[in-house]
């Protein structure tokens, strides 16, 4: 503290409290809406205090879904989202750490070509090449499968760069010592590099889990049957109905269930999350 300005400190507190409230407000309203029965949304104003239908809403959505709009129970959708988020996160980490290892610890023809090919994936978000990518997945027969949901998303330039940067900082002596002791590339990777990368893997996992969980366009394209719907894309189907026939309570129940898991991950692993976020962008 350089100079004291009590009024500036007060202002800072005021701005931050306003910010916290602003950020939390939509979620508060969603949570409140998920505790009310359907009749509270027919007219007037959305309720701002908790209602008494919490258990009924969550139980019926988790086990029965919304039959009027053909939406399946949320339990299955949550499961699909979890499978997708975990497969995307672990898939990206696995193939990226291997390619970074190849690029940093080996010298071979076409190394630069491989590096640039991986770099390209950074530039081509699925949104801009959606039609031809969909066609490839359809031709491979991967529609309505977990493979179709996850495999096309697991190439990762950011994760590869992160591991590459990290490997470059690992002291040369470690590998030289390992080689003198007779460790081959596989043993060195498994017994030395992998344990050293633990924090990076964990930080990356937090970011990639959120990325996988929050996918919207891709699951919407590759799933035609409700058995493979993920929860984030499933909300849209319910809210479409909601406009014709207000079912805001169950839509908001779905919203709360869809945002809770990634938020828990971020809150529970805040330090790793910040590390992962800041390092993947370097």
């Amino acid at each position: 503290m350089i100079d004291r300005h009590p009024w500036l400190d007060a202002l800072a507190h005021a701005v931050l409290i306003a910010g916290v409230l602003l950020v939390a407000f939509p979620v508060y309203v969603a949570v409140i809406a998920s505790t009310h029965g359907p009749n509270d949304f027919m007219s007037g104003l959305v309720p701002l205090l908790p209602g008494s239908d919490t258990i009924a809403n969550y139980r019926s959505m988790l086990t029965d879904g919304l039959s009027s709009s053909g939406a399946p129970p949320l339990g299955g959708m949550l499961w699909n989202s979890l499978v997708m988020a975990l497969c995307v996160a672990f898939g990206k980490i696995a193939i990226s750490i291997l390619s970074a290892y190849a690029i940093v610890y080996f010298r071979f023809p076409f190394r630069a070509v491989a590096f640039w090919m991986i770099f390209v994936t950074l530039m081509l978000p699925v949104e801009v090449r959606i039609v031809p990518t969909f066609k490839v997945v359809a031709d491979l027969g991967l529609l309505d499968s977990y493979a179709g949901l996850t495999v096309p998303l697991i190439a990762s330039a950011t994760a590869t760069f992160l591991f590459r940067q990290f490997f470059l900082t690992v002291p040369e002596e470690l590998m030289e010592a390992a080689r003198i002791d007779g460790a081959g590339p596989l043993k060195f990777f498994r017994d030395i590099l992998l344990p050293l990368s633990r924090t990076n893997i964990a930080a990356l996992f937090v970011i990639l889990f959120i990325y996988g969980w929050n996918q919207y366009l891709w699951p919407m394209m590759v799933t035609t049957k409700s058995s493979h719907y993920t929860i984030v894309m499933g909300i849209k189907r319910m809210s479409d109905v909601a406009d014709a026939l207000p079912q805001w309570n169950v839509v908001m129940t779905t919203v709360v269930l869809a945002l809770l898991p990634p938020v828990i991950v971020v809150v529970g692993m805040q330090r790793l999350f910040v590390k992962g976020l800041i390092e993947t962008e370097k």
């Binding site: 350089i2 100079d3 500036l8 400190d9 800072a12 701005v15 910010g19 916290v20 950020v23 939390a24 407000f25 939509p26 309203v29 949304f41 007219s43 104003l45 959305v46 193939i95 291997l98 390619s99 940093v104 610890y105 080996f106 071979f108 190394r111 630069a112 491989a114 090919m117 390209v120 994936t121 530039m123 081509l124 978000p125 949104e127 801009v128 090449r129 959606i130 039609v131 990518t133 490839v136 495999v151 190439a155 590869t160 590998m175 030289e176 081959g184 060195f188 919207y216 984030v232 894309m233 909300i235 849209k236 207000p246 805001w248 839509v251 919203v255 945002l259 938020v263 809150v267 910040v274």
Partner: protein, 294 residues
């Protein structure tokens, strides 16, 4: 390109390690992107039975297509608005937090979690808050005499999607500004304080200029976010309407290609978007290199 001083001599192993990544890249990234480029020079007949080469006709058509030009205009409003709002708020929160000694960790924890919320979910929540018949915000606006209706008023719809898209991004910008502020040497601020510069003057003459690399980086990242990752916000709320007023480029590619089945035009739009992303990514990497060599 860097490697280690000593490397493993194995010849096949590196290819085996790279294979999964490259296979996914080629099959799901390069091949479809190439297809998009090829299709952008072709046109299919109405039944999809034959395709003919049309050269640059698809691109030329885009330039004369009022809906595409409108979409460009919409994106040119939407993306900078989201960037300005979310970077601005992120900076304000970070600067306020940087002043405080006590409570800063609690505030930080309470400000970062929205990053985890999916854009589609954020869109639905704000859509609910702004619901013209029962939403809270239209109710408050009505009290000051404004009749909010984003299903009819283009401006209202634009405001809705800008807020919904910016909301979760504030936390991201906040975190990067926090890191940027912590990197500013305290001695510099102290020197200015001794010379008699007050907190406001110090911010504009020292802190903000020293944050400019962070600000520039965030501007690029947020433009990319607003142009490409906000698809779910639009799709889950306005669907590009009313009267095309929120039909941003990336949403239009989807609508034309998947719903309109106008493959040639959609492919040409994809290629234009790819060119934009590549440009922005190159700018961003140039900046990163400059920072490293500084």
């Amino acid at each position: 390109m860097q490697t280690k001083r000593t490397v493993f001599g194995n010849r096949l192993l590196p290819y085996a390690f790279l294979f999964p990544q490259l296979a996914v890249t080629v099959i799901f990234f390069l091949w479809p992107a190439g297809q998009a480029v090829i299709q952008s020079f072709q046109r299919e007949d109405a039944f999809g039975l034959s395709t003919t080469w049309v050269g640059l006709a698809n691109y030329a058509d885009l330039l004369h297509d009022p809906t595409y030009l409108n979409s460009l205009k919409v994106t040119a409003i939407f993306a900078p608005a989201v960037t300005l709002l979310s970077v601005g708020l992120g900076l304000v929160f970070a600067v306020c937090l940087d002043r405080l000694v006590r409570g800063s960790r609690i505030y930080a924890a309470l400000l970062v979690w929205p990053y985890a919320v999916a854009p589609a979910v954020a869109g639905i929540m704000w859509w609910f808050l702004f619901n013209p018949s029962i939403g809270l915000l239209p109710y408050l606006l009505a009290a000051v005499g404004y009749r909010w209706d984003h299903s009819l008023q283009p401006t209202d719809a634009m405001i809705l999607v800008v807020i919904a898209a910016s909301w979760k991004q504030v936390s991201y910008n906040f975190l990067f500004f926090m890191a940027g502020l912590q990197a500013i040497p305290k001695s510099m601020i102290e020197a200015a304080a001794i010379d008699g510069a007050g907190p406001v003057k110090r911010f504009f003459t020292i802190v903000f200029p020293l944050l400019s690399p962070t600000t520039f980086f965030l501007a690029v990242i947020n433009l990319v976010y607003a142009m490409f990752d906000t698809f779910p916000v639009i799709h889950a709320t306005t669907g590009g309407n009313p009267a095309q007023s929120t039909n941003i480029l990336v949403y239009k590619v989807f609508v034309d290609g998947f719903i309109g089945l106008n493959l040639g035009s959609s492919a040409a739009q994809s290629v234009v978007l790819m060119a934009i992303v590549v440009t922005l990514t190159v700018i961003q990497f140039k900046w990163v290199e400059r920072k490293v060599n500084y």
